[in-house]
């Protein structure tokens, strides 16, 4: 959307395709505290709807469909969509983000929607006065563990290492909440139950011992994989599947740029995604100017 603000202001006809939720992963953040300009923090949904409004005000058209593949045809780039349309354009910015990684343990798939969840904002309310597990140690896991204490009686954070990767300030907050407990050096090896989740098997990686823990729900935030399946034959990816770009967000294909979490980089935050977007939008503008000059 940031890229759209830049291309919209450059008076370039801009179409944004969004398959899931406008704003991407951050819409489900209870609160964003490290994005500049909001000293008291802002909810992910308020932040994204403000950015959406800003993008639309500069003429960005938003279409709630997905892209299935990109085809190159001379200097045209053709986007195939989930509703079987073909959109021909000169440039594309790929900002399709990431999706959450599954644990890949027995029971996870079976109990998805029956106690296994990947969205605290969506499903937290179903675990009022229940006991739940949050798996992971990053910002999302710890932020959502704190959020889920609004509903759950007890939140156990299961992490495979003995310290968290989350921001220090989030860690301190989580450590100070009595209803959050930490189960270190441990992973879930199985999820069990009848109709809904009733227990998990926890393996301690240091001692190799496995215990069964009674639990009502499991929220999984162990990281993300890039949504690059639809472009893997078109642009160069790194060994983890993220898109490799130059410092101006250009990919190996002329006219195709990438921005945000989908890009191969170290820090994936709203602030860095917005920076990428601004850069990609500006690069698109330059690319199109150059195409037009060549034609003249």
């Amino acid at each position: 959307m940031t890229a759209g603000i830049y291309t919209g202001r450059a008076k370039l006809k801009t179409l944004l395709l969004e398959e899931k939720a406008i704003g991407g992963e951050i819409v489900v953040a209870d609160i964003v505290e490290n994005y500049p300009g909001f000293p008291k923090g802002i909810s992910g949904s308020d932040l994204t709807s403000a950015i959406e409004e800003q993008a639309r005000s500069f003429g960005v058209e938003i279409c709630e469909i997905g892209a299935t593949r990109i085809e190159l045809n001379g200097e045209n780039r053709i986007v195939h969509t989930t509703d079987d349309r073909m959109i021909t354009t000169k440039t594309i910015i790929i900002a399709a983000g990431t999706q959450n990684i599954k644990l890949n343990v027995p029971g996870e798939k079976l109990f998805t929607g029956r106690g296994v969840s990947y969205c605290a904002q969506c499903d937290g309310a179903f675990f009022k006065d229940k006991e739940i597990i949050v798996v992971g140690g990053g910002d999302t896991a710890i932020g959502d563990a704190i959020f889920l204490t609004r509903f759950a009686r007890k939140v156990s954070v299961v992490h495979r290492r003995d310290k968290l990767r989350a921001e220090k300030i989030l860690q301190e907050r989580a450590f100070s909440i009595p209803s959050i407990e930490f189960i270190w050096d441990s992973v879930i090896t199985g999820i069990e139950g009848k109709k809904t989740v009733e227990a998990v098997s926890l393996k301690n990686l240091k001692t190799d011992t496995v215990v069964t823990k009674r639990i009502d729900g499991v929220f999984i935030f162990i990281g993300n994989n890039p949504n690059t399946g639809f472009v893997k034959d078109i642009v160069t990816l790194d060994e983890s599947g993220y898109i490799i770009t130059d410092e101006n967000m250009g990919t190996n294909q002329p006219g195709i740029f990438a921005a945000g979490d989908i890009r191969s980089k170290m820090v994936r935050q709203v602030a860095t995604a917005v920076g990428d977007g601004a850069m990609a939008g500006s690069s698109v503008q330059r690319y199109i100017e150059k195409l037009e000059t060549v034609k003249k």
Binding site: K20, E64, D83, G113, S117, D123, A125, F126, G217
Partner: protein, 216 residues
């Protein structure tokens, strides 16, 4: 004081200026034992005030049984979005948060009398030859839910056998428990087919079609 902000009203007035046919918002509420009935009534009345093409009808769930039967309503608050005919679009529980956008988009589609489904989807839906009830369970804070609700409602617009309900899961804990709803969006079709998540249109429709199989 209303529930909608001035700038939202301006935006909606502009959207509603594109309305084609009249749209009727039929709301069932009840005085007692209803947390969100008053809020929803206020919200729907405000929507109605934004366009001459939007008519609001309000019924009492407790007493107006003839209307309840006409619309086959089994919970309250209930909202029906009706165009030139009743397409089978239902909202049980207040369409607040992210679901408010679903209501607006439904109003636009219903007014136009068009589902905007793909040609392939429309063709597949012609196979439906018996009543289908789609229930989509949501929470207002779920950003992925409107997609599932909208797909269900579009199917209802497209096919007269289909009734499609949005069900706000936290307002109807008994119904949610019956279907084991612990993640949203969760879609239940004719009590037989279930799936969690906002599936793409083609997969959603395959789910609906699979509910037609005789053993379901």
């Amino acid at each position: 004081m209303g529930l909608l902000q001035e700038k939202d009203k301006e935006y909606l007035k502009n959207e509603f200026s594109k309305l084609k046919n009249d749209v009727k918002l039929v709301l069932f509420t009840q005085e007692e034992d209803c947390t969100y009935c008053n809020d929803e009534k206020m919200l729907i009345d405000e929507l109605g005030s934004l366009s001459d093409k939007i008519k609001v009808e309000h019924y009492d769930y407790a007493t107006q049984n003839d209307k309840k039967e006409q619309y086959k309503i089994d919970k309250y608050p209930a909202l029906i979005i009706e165009g030139v005919r009743d397409y089978g679009i239902r909202y049980y529980g207040i369409p607040a948060g992210y679901e408010f956008a679903s209501v607006i988009e439904d109003i636009m589609d219903v007014s136009e009398g068009s589902s905007h489904l793909t040609e392939e989807s429309k063709k597949k839906l012609q196979a439906i030859n018996k009543p289908i009830r789609i229930q989509v369970f949501v929470t207002p804070s779920c950003p992925y839910c409107p997609k599932a609700v909208r797909t269900a409602h579009k199917i209802a617009i497209e096919n007269d056998f289909v009734t499609a309900d949005m069900v706000e899961a936290t307002e109807f804990p008994e119904v949610s428990n019956k279907y084991g709803v612990q993640s949203v969006p969760k879609t239940v079709i004719n009590d037989g087919v279930e799936f969690v998540g906002a599936l793409p249109e083609d997969q959603f429709i395959d789910g609906v079609i699979s509910a037609l199989e005789p053993n379901r």
